[in-house]
Symmetry: C2
Subunit: 126 residues, 2 copies
Amino acid sequence: MEIPKPTESELEILQVLWTYGPSPVRFVCDKLNEHREVGYTTALKLMQIMVDKGLAIRNTDQRSHIYEAAISESETKTRLLDQFVDSTFKGSAMKMVMQALGQHQASKEELDEIKALIERMERESQ
Amino acid sequence: MEIPKPTESELEILQVLWTYGPSPVRFVCDKLNEHREVGYTTALKLMQIMVDKGLAIRNTDQRSHIYEAAISESETKTRLLDQFVDSTFKGSAMKMVMQALGQHQASKEELDEIKALIERMERESQ
DNA sequence: AAGTATATACGAAGACTTTCGTAATTGCAA
DNA sequence: TTGCAATTACGAAAGTCTTCGTATATACTT
């Protein structure tokens, strides 16, 4: 069986693991609680399920088990982005980019960065 | 929250209603079946639930009820995009744009369009 | 009028997600 | 050692989403 798409809660946990590296439940739970209230056993259960699903791996050498993301950040975000573009923008990533650019504030630096990327793409497509 | 976020199935139905306008269940069901198998009563039930949730409205004058999207396409996509950016890219729309540009093929026309949009934004931000 | 096709109404099953209570286990400290 | 704090294990409840079977109602056809 393939590794399933992470749920909303699982994605929150993955973000913590991606950002801070392998961590015990207590740490992840504390990080989650910076944004919303999550009980300790709730976080524990979610992380145990993530191991079952293949979304995380854990080291049980210590009493406090250490959990680590089992799927890569960039590949996962690529996949989620693909699915989101398919379902919401009927597969047109450019339509989505246009909408994102239109509705979000961007700094001059960011805009320059995107322009540079576009120009690089144009050169490569020749 | 007033009107809830549409589910995956509900979004599929909304796409049909946005594209083709007010439609009976039979028509929507046929459109869904161009992409995946969906039973008639399944589509019916989903659309009835959408009316309950305020995602759609229906006209019951005729025997075949006519369903219509109750939420606007652009506002809904804006909202879904916001939530997706928050959950997957921690609120950085620009990071997502960069990733989308990097991973998807774009035609020269599309890239030009995006460049024009960026230049317009740069002018406006001065 | 009778029978057939099509539509709606409704309930419930099954899968999935999230949450939490409780028991069992382990480490530490008085 | 005894008791307390922290951890894991586990089951189950509650909510949601999707699917479908069946009953009922309505129109059409012959």
